[in-house]
C-alpha cells in the first residue's frame, strides 16, 4: 500500500494541476529577451501599423497615399538603389575576403585576425563611422588633403561624400565585414571531398564551381546579399550624420516626417512610410530565412 501511494505521489508531483504542461526551464532564460523584443520591436511595429491606418478622420488609408508623392517615390528609390549597390558590392568583396579566409589555416592568425576585425567593423556604424570618414576623406580630412597634395583631388567634380555616392562608400565599409561573418559558415560547410570527387569524376575547376560549389553556395550568397540589402535599406544613423540637407533616402524621410518643425511634420504619414519600410524589410528577411534554411540543409 505504501508503495502504491508513493508511486502515485511521484507520478503527479512533476505536473501542474489542471493537466497543463510545465514550461521547460530553459524557456525561463529567454523570457527577458522576449520581453525586450516585445517592448522594442513588437510594440513599435504595432504602433507603426496602427498609426499608418489612422488619420485625423479615424481609420483609413489616406496616410498611405503619401506613397504616390514624387519626393517619397524618389527617397524610396534612392534607398533601394543605395541598398542594392552596397549589398552587391559588400557581398562580392566580402565573399572574396571570406574565401581567402577559408582557404588558409582554419586555426591560423589570418583567420582569427579577419574574423575579429569583421566582428568589430560590422557593428561600426552611425555617427562614429560618419566621423571616421569625415576625418579621413572629408573636405578637411587628412587623407583627402594628402591625396590632394599629391595631385589627386577626389572632389574635383563635387563633394560627393555627403550625398548618395558618399553613403554608398560608407555603407560598403560595414557591409563587407558583415558579409564575411554571414558567409563564412557556408564556405566552411563546403567539404574538400566534393572537389576531389568532382576531379576524380573528370571535372575541372570551372566545372566544380559551375556544378557543385556554385549551386551549393548560391543560396547562402543570395541570402547574405538580402541581409545586407535589409541592413543598408533600414540604416539611419550614418546617413543622418553624413547627409545634412534633404531627405534623400527613406529612413531620413521618415525621421524628418516625425520630427520636422515645418510643414512636413505628420506622425501618421511617418507611420505609413515606416510601415512600407517594415513590409519591405520583412519580405527580404523572409526570403533570407528561406535561403538560409536551404543552405543549412546542404552545408551542415
Amino acid at each position: 500500500m505504501t508503495a502504491v501511494l508513493e508511486k502515485s505521489f511521484v507520478d503527479t508531483a512533476g505536473r501542474p494541476t489542471g493537466g497543463g504542461r510545465r514550461l521547460p526551464s530553459q524557456w525561463l532564460a529567454v523570457i527577458p529577451f522576449f520581453f525586450y523584443l516585445g517592448i522594442f520591436l513588437l510594440l513599435p511595429t504595432l504602433i507603426v501599423v496602427g498609426g499608418a491606418f489612422f488619420d485625423r478622420n479615424g481609420l483609413g488609408f489616406s496616410n498611405l497615399l503619401i506613397m504616390n508623392k514624387p519626393f517619397v517615390i524618389s527617397a524610396y528609390l534612392n534607398s533601394v538603389i543605395l541598398a542594392a549597390i552596397t549589398a552587391i558590392a559588400g557581398a562580392v568583396l566580402g565573399a572574396v575576403l571570406a574565401y581567402a579566409v577559408v582557404s588558409g589555416n582554419p586555426n591560423g592568425v589570418f583567420r582569427r585576425l579577419v574574423t575579429s576585425a569583421c566582428g568589430v567593423l560590422a557593428q561600426f556604424g552611425g555617427v562614429t563611422l560618419a566621423f571616421a570618414f569625415i576625418a579621413t576623406i572629408g573636405s578637411a580630412g587628412f587623407v583627402y588633403l594628402w591625396l590632394k597634395q599629391h595631385g589627386l583631388d577626389v572632389y574635383a567634380h563635387g563633394l560627393w561624400l555627403y550625398d548618395l555616392r558618399g553613403l554608398e562608400l560608407v555603407y560598403t565599409y560595414f557591409q563587407i565585414p558583415l558579409m564575411v561573418l554571414v558567409f563564412l559558415p557556408a564556405l566552411d560547410g563546403i567539404r574538400p571531398q566534393w572537389r576531389e570527387a568532382t576531379e576524380s569524376l573528370g571535372g575541372n575547376t570551372w566545372q566544380y564551381w559551375r556544378y557543385v560549389a556554385g549551386p551549393l553556395l548560391a543560396p547562402a550568397f543570395f541570402g547574405a546579399t538580402l541581409l545586407l540589402f535589409a541592413n543598408a535599406f533600414s540604416a539611419y544613423a550614418t546617413a543622418a550624420a553624413l547627409v545634412n540637407q534633404g531627405s534623400v533616402i527613406a529612413s531620413l524621410l521618415i525621421a524628418n516626417t516625425m520630427t520636422s518643425e515645418v510643414g512636413l511634420h505628420d506622425p501618421g504619414i511617418a507611420s505609413a512610410l515606416a510601415l512600407v519600410m517594415v513590409v519591405m524589410v520583412a519580405t527580404v528577411m523572409v526570403l533570407y530565412t528561406v535561403l538560409q534554411r536551404r543552405t543549412a540543409r546542404w552545408l551542415r
Binding site: R191, A197, E199, S200, G202, G203, V212, P215, L299
Partner: protein, 370 residues
C-alpha cells in the same frame, strides 16, 4: 565513349580490370615521410586492401594513385601507361570517400550521372546508365532522393555507383565503411565485394580495420611507416605473418617469454620453430596466436608451466575467447563456445601450445595481447 561506358554495365561478369603498378613511391610532408618507397602491383580485376594504423601511408598511396596528390619520387602505371604526372580528372579513376562525399544538392541519380555529365555523355544515356548503376547497388527505388534523405549505408552505395558509372580503370575505396555502424558495415562490405566481382574493376581498398581487409580482399597489404610490410592473401597474412608488426597488427597475439636456441624457441616447456632465420640465441618474446593455444583439460591441484586459472571468457558466437592466468603472464585462447563453457572462470586448466612456426618480438615486454 558510349561503348566504353556500356562495357561495364549491369550483368557484366568478365573481369574488365587493368594492371596497376606503383613503383617506389615516395611522399614527404615537410619532415614527415608518408610513403617510403612503396611498390605494389595489382593484377587486373584484383581487389587489394591496404591495411595499417593511422599515419602508415595507406591513404597517401591511394591519393597518389587517384592523382589528388603528387609523388616526390616513383611511378604509377595503369594498364601499362605512366599516369604519374596526370591530373586526377584525366586518370579515369573512380573513388569512394570515407563519408559525406555525395553532392547534397543533387539527387542520387544526378550524383551517379555526374561523372558522365563531365564526360559530355548524352542526357538520355546518362539517365539510363545512372539507373543501371543504382540497380547494381540495389537502390533503383531511391533515384530521386537527396543525400540527406538516405542512410549512411545508402549514401555509400550511391557513392559506389557514382564511382563505377564512369567505367573507371581503377576503383579506389578510402575507408568507405568507417563511418557506418557495425551491422551496416558488414553488409555493405559484402555488397562492395559482390559489385566489384561483377564489374571486375581493379580495386584498391584502404582500411584500418583488419577484419574488413581480411574479409574483402584478394590480397592484403599491411603497411607501417610508409612501407609495405607484407602483401599476400588474407590467410597468409594471418597465419604466416612476415614480421612481428604484421603478427601483432593482424589478429590477436599472445606475447610469451621464451628462450631461443638452435633455430627454435622454448616457451614454457614447448619447443616452437621460428619463422625468422636471423634470431640470435637468448631470451625472446614469442608471438603466438590464441587459436594455437588449446585446452588439454582440467588441472585441479596440479601445477606446471602451462597450468593456469580461467579469469575471463568473451562470447563471440560460435567461438569464445578465454583468458587464462598462468601466474606470471596471461594467455588468450580461442575455443569452441561449448568447450569454453566447460571451463568457467575460476577453473584450473592445463594448456598446450601447437608447435607452429612463430615470430619473435625481441624489444617489447611480454604478457600484452595485441
Amino acid at each position: 565513349m558510349t561503348a566504353t561506358i556500356a562495357a561495364a554495365g549491369t550483368g557484366t561478369t568478365a573481369r574488365a580490370g587493368v594492371e596497376v603498378r606503383l613503383e617506389n613511391l615516395r611522399r614527404r610532408y615537410g619532415p614527415i615521410t608518408a610513403l617510403d618507397g612503396l611498390s605494389l602491383t595489382m593484377a587486373p580485376g584484383e581487389l587489394v586492401a591496404l591495411l595499417g594504423p593511422s599515419g602508415c601511408g595507406k591513404t597517401t598511396a591511394l591519393r597518389l594513385l587517384a592523382g589528388l596528390e603528387d609523388a616526390d619520387e616513383g611511378r604509377i602505371l595503369v594498364d601499362g601507361h605512366d599516369v604519374t604526372g596526370q591530373p586526377a580528372n584525366k586518370r579515369g579513376v573512380g573513388m569512394v570517400f570515407q563519408a559525406y562525399s555525395l553532392f547534397p544538392h543533387m539527387t542520387a541519380w544526378q550524383n551517379v550521372a555526374f561523372g558522365l555529365q563531365m564526360r559530355r555523355v548524352h542526357a538520355a544515356e546518362r539517365r539510363q546508365r545512372a539507373g543501371e548503376m543504382l540497380e547494381l547497388v540495389g537502390l533503383s527505388g531511391y533515384a530521386n532522393r537527396f543525400a540527406h534523405q538516405l542512410s549512411g549505408g545508402q549514401q555509400q552505395r550511391v557513392a559506389l555507383a557514382r564511382a563505377l558509372a564512369i567505367n573507371p580503370k581503377v576503383l579506389l575505396l578510402d575507408e568507405p565503411l568507417s563511418a557506418l555502424d557495425a551491422k551496416v558495415r558488414a553488409r555493405l562490405r559484402d555488397e562492395i565485394r559482390r559489385v566489384q566481382l561483377e564489374v571486375g574493376t581493379t580495386t584498391l581498398f584502404v582500411t584500418h580495420d583488419q577484419e574488413e581487409a581480411l574479409a574483402i580482399a584478394d590480397r592484403v597489404g599491411v603497411m607501417q611507416s610508409g612501407r609495405l610490410e607484407q602483401l599476400g592473401p588474407p590467410t597468409t597474412i594471418y597465419s604466416r605473418p612476415a614480421s612481428a608488426f604484421v603478427a601483432e597488427f593482424v589478429g590477436l597475439t599472445n606475447r610469451l617469454p621464451g628462450t631461443v636456441a638452435r633455430g627454435a624457441v622454448d616457451v614454457r616447456g614447448t619447443r616452437l620453430p621460428l619463422v625468422q632465420t636471423d634470431v640470435p640465441d637468448g631470451p625472446a618474446i614469442a608471438l603466438i596466436r590464441p587459436e594455437a593455444v588449446s585446452v588439454l583439460g582440467d588441472a585441479n591441484g596440479a601445477s606446471g608451466p602451462l597450468v593456469g586459472t580461467v579469469i575471463a571468457t568473451v562470447f563471440l558466437g560460435a567461438t569464445s575467447r578465454v583468458t587464462v592466468d598462468l601466474g606470471d603472464v596471461t594467455v588468450l585462447t580461442q575455443l569452441a563456445t561449448s568447450e569454453a563453457a566447460a571451463h568457467p572462470a575460476g577453473t584450473r586448466i592445463r594448456l598446450a601450445i601447437r608447435p607452429d612456426p612463430v615470430l619473435i618480438a625481441r624489444d617489447q615486454p611480454a604478457g600484452e595481447h595485441r
